[in-house]
């Protein structure tokens, strides 16, 4: 356990190599303790070197600057025997009697520690350490060797193997094995343990006889048998008289944090954003404050803004950007014809007020939330039938311009915002609170079946949710600290587990709600529930009447008719409306750091807390049940409130940056998910901070932020790259022009549908199911002769509509922070050859004909207006017409009767395949 090749050893990060954690009594250590006992006699007679006299001076000379009481890199304190024995983040540091298998010795011997730039240990010093370990690692203070297991070594084992049946939810035989006290109290057969006598302890007897955990029930409750080493620890603890440790959970307190220093906190993104004064630039050249930051950077390299884009380019850009749809010809006309100076601002307001806005921007948020309508993981990829409510919640919230702070409160702690169990009416607000917590239920999850719901399976789900939380909201790669302290950011492993402790009342690997049914609540709005209930009663009533008739009817034929009737009535039954949610279950298990992320290797006990580097390290994390009598901890609510304090270093920066990215094609920080030390440096450091402060000042209004960004001069620039710009700003880092962007899959599909008049705006509700055609092509089911927007398609992980897959719909593993745009042949093949795209081209052609008649020149002009928001240039018009003529001739030769229509469809189809359509200037 100690000598396994360390995954850390080759890295040069500042938190490398040795790590922290309290002494743990498992395999090797158990052996070590026994070894100590055996060797004490030897130590007395042969006078071996004692730690205090021989080794401590070496450590004090070389190690304690980084591994001392104030700074404990890797959680290791080598300034005292106690600190050494407490071990590091990776567990015990040495194994008495065996230098080769001692982590600490290995690191020193290989020259990995002290770090290369520090003074190295002499050969004599290394040899002294080796001799000390080989001779049994004796201490002058012999008591130190005695530290046997305490209840904190035993509880993790019982949690793992026993509490599912003998714990908080179920106390079979009246037995609760969660605490030392409850063990002594025992169950129906008496106390579980007899202090000092393992063999007389019922607990040990039953385990020895392999009666417990019961072999045939193991899979049903997702538990594995107790391992021999674990049993040894249990026996030892009982034999030694159930030693009790008064160790308290490790939480932030008034003492300065030895694991994270103020130096660490100095990194730009770990400090609260402060708005710098606006740069001074000629006011006539800018429209909004952000322009002054951009312009200053441009002027630094003798550039200026690009000329403004034309109005027709602007309206198309803005429409796709804010609603994900092309502008309609009348929208374009209205804008082009509006002579007022604020025509553009009015257009912005119209688009922001459109219900289509929330549908488009929901996709961005659903990506970071890792939204899917199915479990993933298992072959059947079981559908999550209630997940769509969360999708609808996001769309509604964005359309209502719900402030981002409130948006986060609801998604992280909606169940702790208001009472919902004991209220007369569930209104929209209460409903939204609960649905919002679906954010915490998106990760791929195989724990709906017992065989794939063991503790490690559950920990994977929790890890995915932590990754989503960290990357989406904090912009930190916090999941890297699951198995060891973060290699590059000042995030100790302790902080990862403190964070999981915050979520423990919802994500408790020892008190787990299997995915699907158990994860749902029935607190839909009272009106929805009443309607469902009424329908149910109505159907039952009608069914009963017909059933009676069937019983009475003797004529077989009439009976059959009635049975068909009954069937039809029963089909009107609707599934019970339920919400997939996360809610506080009130009594979370204790949280132990898992050494190297190994679930069988519990280390230090920690309490809830937020990453130390984002605080002063001394402020306790305060939480309380949210209302009187609430069976909830209030931990997540406290987290949500901490996140949305204006001084929080990351929340506003990360979201403002994301919104920026979707408007300007690249983030001010390009690593949207990583604001840590390995993330990208901001291209405009003062701007990102100014923006974050401004976002909060505008009461976290996302629409207000959109408005500011899209009305800027920066946004209104042309996208043309001149020779000069290519020489100075080829990448576009300086925003010297707008980017050229390919439509995302959803946008492309929606745009194709809209121009063909086949888009049905039926918002909200259960997802549109999908059809799998021969050969594996997947499409969504049509509704009322058309199709709904892509956001409403069933997002089944293994069966996404092919057009979305081909155009880079990302796999949610577990979420997606930044989509890529590939350019590959299957995309061309899809748009060229796919039957549905061809059908839409037919509809497009028919629509044009119905609007302007059969004149091909007029038709081409109209098709351009619809698809591209502009008229064709002379050259385009000419080659379009000539293709039309050539195709018509071919079609006529092939003997069809509708050659003109078919030829024009070819023009429309070509337009749908053109770069002019697929790319947005």
């Amino acid at each position: 356990m100690i000598s396994r090749t360390s995954p850390y050893r080759t890295h040069t990060g500042r938190y490398s190599a040795v790590t922290y954690c309290r002494l743990l009594v498992f395999t090797a250590l158990t052996a070590y303790v026994f070894f100590l006992y055996e060797n004490r006699g030897v130590a007395d007679t042969s006078e071996p070197p004692f730690f205090e006299t021989t080794i401590q001076p070496i450590f004090s000379k070389h190690c304690t600057d980084c591994h001392g009481p104030e700074v404990q890199e890797g959680g290791l304190d080598l300034s005292s025997a106690k600190g050494l024995l407490q071990g590091s983040e990776s567990g015990p540091t040495f194994r008495a009697g065996n230098a080769e298998q001692s982590t600490l010795f290995g690191l020193i011997q290989r020259g990995d520690m002290p770090p290369a730039e520090e003074e190295q240990l002499s050969e004599a010093e290394i040899e002294a350490i080796r001799i000390w370990i080989e001779s049994g690692a004796p201490f002058q203070d012999a008591k130190l060797g005695d530290s046997g297991p305490t209840q904190h070594d035993v509880i993790p084992i019982l949690l793992l193997r026993c509490v599912v049946c003998h714990g908080g939810r179920s106390q079979e035989a009246g037995l609760d094995l969660r605490t030392r006290e409850s063990l002594l109290r025992g169950g129906k057969s008496g106390p579980a343990v007899v202090s000092g006598d393992p063999q007389k302890s019922l607990l040990i007897q039953r385990i020895h006889k392999q009666e417990m955990p019961p072999r045939r029930a193991l899979v049903r409750v997702s538990v594995k048998p107790m391992e021999a080493t674990e049993l040894t620890v249990l026996e030892q603890w009982i034999a030694q008289g159930l030693p009790k440790s008064d160790l308290q959970p490790d939480i932030a307190n008034q003492v300065a944090d030895p694991l994270v220093s103020n130096e660490d906190r100095r990194f730009w993104s770990f400090q609260s954003p402060v708005a710098a004064p606006l740069p001074e630039v000629p006011l006539e050249t800018i429209s909004t404050s952000i322009d002054s930051f951009i312009l200053r950077s441009l002027r630094n390299v003798q550039l200026h803004f690009s000329p403004p884009a034309t109005r027709s380019v602007l309206v198309r850009r803005l429409s796709f950007n804010l609603t994900g749809l092309p502008p309609t010809p009348s929208e374009v006309e209205q804008f082009l014809a509006d002579p007022t100076p604020d025509a553009y601002e009015k257009l912005v307001d119209r688009l922001l007020a459109s219900p289509r806005h929330g549908e488009r921007w929901a996709t961005h948020w659903l990506d970071v939330a890792g939204y899917a309508d199915s479990e993933g993981s298992q072959n059947e990829d079981r559908v999550r039938p209630h997940m769509w409510r969360y999708r609808d919640y996001v769309i509604r919230a964005l359309n209502q311009d719900k402030p981002y702070d409130r948006f986060l409160h609801e998604q992280l702690a909606g169940d702790e915002l208001t009472e919902y169990e004991n209220v007369e009416t569930i209104d929209d607000a209460i409903y939204d609170n609960l649905v919002a917590t679906g954010f915490l239920r998106t990760a791929p999850d195989r724990t709906f079946a017992a065989i794939t719901a063991f503790v490690p399976d559950r920990l994977e789900v929790i890890a995915d949710e932590m990754q989503i939380f960290g990357s989406a909201i904090l912009g930190l790669t916090i999941h890297c600290a699951r198995c060891h302290t973060h290699k590059f950011d000042p995030i100790p492993q302790r902080d990862y587990y403190r964070l999981t402790a915050i979520f423990k009342d919802g994500f408790d690997e020892h008190d787990w709600l299997k995915s699907q049914g158990p994860r749902t609540l029935n607190f839909v709005t009272t009106s929805e529930r009443t309607a469902w209930q009424a329908n149910k009663e109505q159907v039952e009533q009608e069914a009963a009447v017909v059933q009676e008739k069937i019983t009475a009817e003797e004529n077989e034929e009439k009976k059959k008719q009635l049975e068909t009737e009954l069937q039809a009535i029963n089909q009107r039954h609707q599934p019970e409306p339920r919400i997939r949610a996360l809610w506080s279950r009130g009594v979370p298990s204790p949280t132990y750091v898992l050494l190297r992320g190994d679930y069988k290797n519990a280390g230090r006990l920690v309490g809830p807390g937020v990453p130390s580097v984002l605080t002063d390290g001394k402020t306790p994390f305060i939480f309380a049940p949210p209302w009187q009598g609430a069976q909830k901890t209030g931990r997540r609510l406290a987290l949500a409130k901490w996140l949305t304090e204006p001084s929080n270093p990351l929340t506003a920066r990360v979201m403002a940056n994301r919104i920026w990215k979707h408007h300007f094609g690249r983030g001010l920080v390009t690593s949207l998910d990583n604001f840590g030390t390995t993330g990208a440096s901001p291209s405009h450091p003062e701007l990102i901070d100014w923006l974050a402060v401004e976002f909060v000042r505008r009461q976290w209004s996302m629409k207000s932020l959109h408005r500011m960004l899209v009305t800027s001069t920066t946004y209104r620039q042309s996208s043309t790259i001149t020779e000069e710009l290519a020489a100075t700003d080829l990448e576009g880092t300086l925003l010297s022009r707008m980017p050229l962007r390919r439509m995302e899959g959803e946008v492309l599909r929606d745009a194709l549908l809209q121009i063909s008049n086949r888009l049905q705006h039926i918002p909200y509700g259960p997802a549109d199911s999908i059809t799998e055609m021969e050969g594996g092509l997947i499409t969504t089911e049509p509704r009322q002769g058309g199709w709904r927007r892509s956001v409403f398609a069933l997002h089944r992980r293994t069966k996404m509509p092919t057009i979305l897959e081909n155009f880079d719909y990302p796999q949610m593993g577990p979420n997606c922070l930044d989509r890529r745009a590939s350019v590959v042949a299957p995309q061309a093949l899809h748009l060229l050859n796919n039957a549905l795209v061809s059908e839409w081209a037919d509809s497009f052609a028919m629509r044009v004909a119905s609007e302007v008649g059969e004149n091909p020149a007029k038709q081409i002009r109209r098709a351009y207006q619809i698809a591209l928001g502009r008229l064709p240039r002379e050259e385009e018009q000419q080659i379009g017409l000539s293709l039309y003529d050539d195709c018509k001739k071919q079609w006529l030769e092939s003997g069809v009767t509708d050659a003109p229509q078919r030829a024009f469809k070819n023009v429309c189809h070509a337009l749908m395949n053109s770069a002019a359509f697929l790319y947005i200037d």
């Binding site: 072999r215 193991l218 390919r742 050969g775 092919t802 093949l829 240039r873 071919q890």
Partner: protein, 483 residues
């Protein structure tokens, strides 16, 4: 033009394979192969499928992965156990309780219903349900000591395909094409030949590119009809009309590009449409088995109903490898190796469908000189238990075997691998690998090694991590099987 990211000729070479997120050139090889240093800040990078020279001289240049999902039974195929014969009918459940998925169906120790014999110069033991492979054993390295981390199909399949038990990570073929690109830009780099009868467990996840760009995911070729989705128009139209329309698209795109300098993505768009046309021809040709002789059809068992389907896929695999495709993966529908019941019949059937085609493939590759630089890998995701799994009526005649993560049997043949060699051993009952154990990550490392790649140096930066196929745990190349 000095700031233009590439010259035009380079651009079109790149674009031929599909250009990815064009924005800024980067020293791609450096990024893929750099040693373990602090990650560089993320840049917008481009990815392509141009052939790349690996760090070390490769033994194999292409891979045919014969994925036998379901869990082929080691003690009934390649790993005879006298202790099973001796202890047949004895209770054994309590010893392995934590490792049994269906405890209520657990029966006693069960001997193999099949007879074993030694074959070839090497004298390798193979049971009598693989008569054809028995004649090819001197070409293969058999690993009897593989093991994995989960006994359930789905996580175990994710594990063997992608190194992790969970959805969302790149699969082996994706890593290989990411590292090596491909030789033929008119065909996909990574081709999947799935069974027309249905998808394997985990469906299309088996060939996902995970967090790698979608460029590297497997492309399904159907063995009959149009091999690629949307390869040919799904509507009636005179060819001349189709050509005219494509010409219009091309002319419109050139006008569009003319007005937009320094936009390689627009060149890429045009090139992707040209590639689409070429692929239509190349893919159709690769799948045209009528170009093969009757003797070849016979060799692969295409002339017989039982073996026809898998035989066709094996032959297509050879034709794709010949044309420079880097990674070909073959699947069988559902779980023919998942012999929970009636193993005497069901396992035999699985062999009947695949034995002749697989042996034919090895023979054919060898006779054409292709086996020297093609690696053929055969195996599933789990193994099976030494005890019987009983049906509801407890009839031992209908017994099968339940899942087992502790022992898996697999083999490799061809480029860089010893022939007629047996590696590792299981315990007396065939329950668990005990000698020279090979973890899934070791198997991955070995495969990469044969291709000239090092498992610790082939990585992709994401979320501040250098992601690798073998993850953070140490992995070992199984040097013993290297030729």
């Amino acid at each position: 033009m000095s700031h233009y990211p590439f010259n035009r000729r380079q651009l079109f070479q790149t674009v031929g394979a599909g250009l990815y997120s064009a924005a800024l050139t980067d020293l791609f090889t450096r990024d893929v192969y750099a040693t373990n240093t602090k990650p560089s800040p993320p840049l917008t990078r481009e990815f392509d499928l141009q052939p790349r020279t690996p760090q070390r001289r490769p033994q194999a240049e292409a891979v045919i992965h014969l994925f036998m999902n379901g869990g082929p039974s080691q003690m009934d195929l390649f790993d005879p156990k006298v202790e099973l014969d001796r202890n047949h009918g004895k209770e054994h459940f309590e010893n392995i309780a934590g490792e049994v998925e269906f405890p209520e169906q657990a029966g006693a120790i069960m001997r193999s219903p099949f007879k074993f014999k030694q074959h070839g110069q090497s004298g390798m033991w193979v049971s009598d349900i693989m008569p054809h492979l028995s004649e090819q054993v001197d070409k293969i390295s058999l690993i009897r000591s593989m093991y994995t981390s989960n006994l359930t199909h789905e996580p175990a399949i994710y594990k063997i395909q992608s190194g992790s038990e969970f959805i969302g990570r790149p699969t082996l073929g994706a890593w290989v094409t990411y590292g090596l690109g491909t030789e033929n830009q008119n065909l996909p780099a990574y081709v999947v030949l799935d069974d027309p009868l249905g998808l394997p467990v985990n469906g299309v996840d088996n060939w996902q590119s995970g967090f790698l760009p979608p460029l590297y995911q497997g492309t399904r070729f159907r063995a009959t009809g149009s091999p690629v989705l949307n390869l040919k128009p799904q509507f009636e139209e005179p060819t001349r009309v189709t050509d005219l329309e494509r010409d219009l698209i091309s002319r419109l795109d050139r006008i569009h590009r003319r007005e937009r300098q320094f936009r390689p993505e627009l060149d890429a768009k045009i090139a992707s449409y040209e590639l689409a046309a070429r692929m239509q021809v190349a893919a159709t040709d690769a799948l045209d088995l009528s170009q093969e002789t009757a003797a070849t059809h016979k060799l692969y068992g295409i002339d017989q109903e039982t073996t026809s389907s898998y035989g066709r896929r094996c032959l297509i695999a050879r034709r794709l490898i010949e044309r420079g495709v880097r990674f070909v993966q073959l699947y069988i529908n559902s779980q023919i190796w998942d012999n929970h019941s009636n193993i005497g019949e069901s396992l035999k059937n699985a062999c009947e469908r695949t034995d002749k085609p697989v042996a034919g493939l090895l023979f054919d590759l060898k006779q054409r000189g292709l086996l020297d630089n093609t690696l053929v890998a055969w195996g599933g995701e789990i193994g099976r238990l030494p005890i019987a799994q009983l049906p509801a009526d407890k009839d031992p005649a209908k017994a099968g075997r339940d899942h087992n993560k502790n022992a898996i049997v697999a083999w490799m043949a061809g480029g860089g691998v010893k022939g007629g060699y047996v590696h590792g051993a299981t315990d007396d009952f065939g329950f668990a690998a005990v000698e020279d154990k090979v973890y899934v990550a070791d198997w991955h490392a070995t495969l990469l090694h044969l291709l000239g790649l090092h498992h610790e140096e082939l990585f992709y930066e994401r979320n501040g991590l250098k992601e690798r196929l073998t993850g953070v745990e140490p992995a070992r190349v199984v040097r013993e099987i290297l030729a």
